[in-house]
Amino acid sequence: MTGNDDLFPDDPAWDGDPVGGLTDLEKAAAACELVFVAGGPAEVAEGCSLVVEPLPAVVAERIRNAVAGHMERNPATAGGRSAAHSTPVGPTIAPPSRHGHDSFASMLVPAAGLVPASRLMHFSGWCAALGLGLALVWQLQNPPVAVTPTDRRQQLLAEDPAALSAAWTAGKDAAIAAAAARTDDARPDNARLGDVVWSQSRQQGFMRFRGLAANDPTVEQYQLWIFDADRDEAYPVDGGVFDVAASDADGEIVVAIDARLPVGKPTLFAITVERPGGVVVSSRERLPLLAQVP
């Protein structure tokens, strides 16, 4: 237990998303922490600034690349305000929007409100026209790129021959029971239930599923975990949460992996069923699918 557990014993915000459920007490605690990092109240009174050791160049570079890669892989889930509903065709992994987002959003002005309304009205017409023009020029000058997860998966396999592939095997869970129990399908698991592909050099991957049951995102979501030989087995890398729509449950779906941390040597991919938004540490009670890396 940390001091914060005692500090906010009844505050569920501490158990969820870092943004959701933002409280005034947290803001006060963060302001205090800044003072202590700066050396204490007396130091800050003399000059309201802080002197810190810069982030080591190697670490800074790695983080810049990681965030850039994350942005590239998740163009539709960016911090950007306009992306929330621009998910490409097919199911993609959602940002871990754990339980507090709505309450946090209600504490802030609507995202668009950050831009003065008068400016928006004044320039929106010009921007729309300019945007359309640029989009047209871009379309003419550039061939179409892979936009669906299925296309991006194919592209990854074509561009990285070293990408590893692992077949899903069914666990004991209702979410996959129907597909696992089918006796009329003689194909091996990797053809029957799907697979996962992962490019180590690109830190990018995709999961393909057949027969995974549809979920109600307000009740539960699927969450991917990546076990890494370089890390403690108790703490697999969170690969993000995703949903299977009822319309997709009978067909094949491809979902992009959203690894939250670099993966060194993946050994096992596991799908769990968790509360909406996913969890930080899974109880692993419901494990519909596993894929052991050969």
Partner: protein
């Protein structure tokens, strides 16, 4: 006033991400090392904080919190999550309040300067008005991340006193910061476009 990088990120300006890492990397690095020590896990934690900042940028509202405070809040939560995941308590070495200070002291001559903002200034003023026991208890709780019982043990103060110092200290600061936010909003809303003055940069 410094340019707001999170607003740029929220507007889809990818070039603001490296700027954000440059401006706040040192701060997040210091906070992470304080809680997690050195090691690959600390680097991962810093990376995780910046990914969350990127994801959260659209929710940043400068009228609710200053950018640096928002960054510190995100970092605090991510780091607390990580400490919990590790199931690790702060080490004995960190309890004496010296190792983090050493980090700051050692960094000072070659460090980078970061403006703390008005909210930290108010916090410093508020903390400065507390007696030394109260200040120490808040530091052990917020900065060192100790539980109430560990603080009571370390300071030889009754557990109830520790709790009330923390609750009262933070609650008073919370009210002061809220009042400032409210006053700021009222001031801004009362400034008509005709009377608002532009401050040359």
């Amino acid at each position: 006033m410094q340019e707001l990088l999170l607003t740029r990120i929220a507007d889809g300006d990818g070039s603001a991400v490296p700027d954000c890492v440059s401006r706040y990397g040192g701060l997040v690095w210091a906070l992470a090392r304080r809680r997690l020590g050195n090691g690959a896990d600390t680097e991962d934690a810093v990376q995780e904080v910046f990914i969350d900042l990127w994801r959260s940028a659209a929710r940043f509202d400068p009228q609710v919190a200053e950018e640096i405070t928002f960054v510190a809040m995100i970092a605090r939560r991510r780091l607390i999550d990580r400490v919990r995941r590790r199931g690790r308590l702060p080490t004995a070495a960190s309890l004496d309040g010296t190792d983090g200070a050493e980090v700051a002291d050692r960094a000072a001559p070659v460090g980078m300067r970061l403006e703390l903002g008005e909210e930290a200034r108010i916090a410093a003023e508020q903390l400065g008005q507390l007696d030394l026991d109260e200040q120490r208890v808040l530091r052990l709780s917020i900065y060192d991340g100790l539980s109430h019982s560990a603080i009571a043990e370390q300071t030889s103060l009754p557990l109830g006193t520790v709790k009330s110092h923390i609750r009262r200290g933070l609650d008073t600061l919370r009210r002061r910061l809220s009042r400032r936010t409210r006053d700021d909003r009222e001031t801004k809303s009362s400034e008509s476009p005709a009377t608002a003055r532009r401050v040359p940069r």
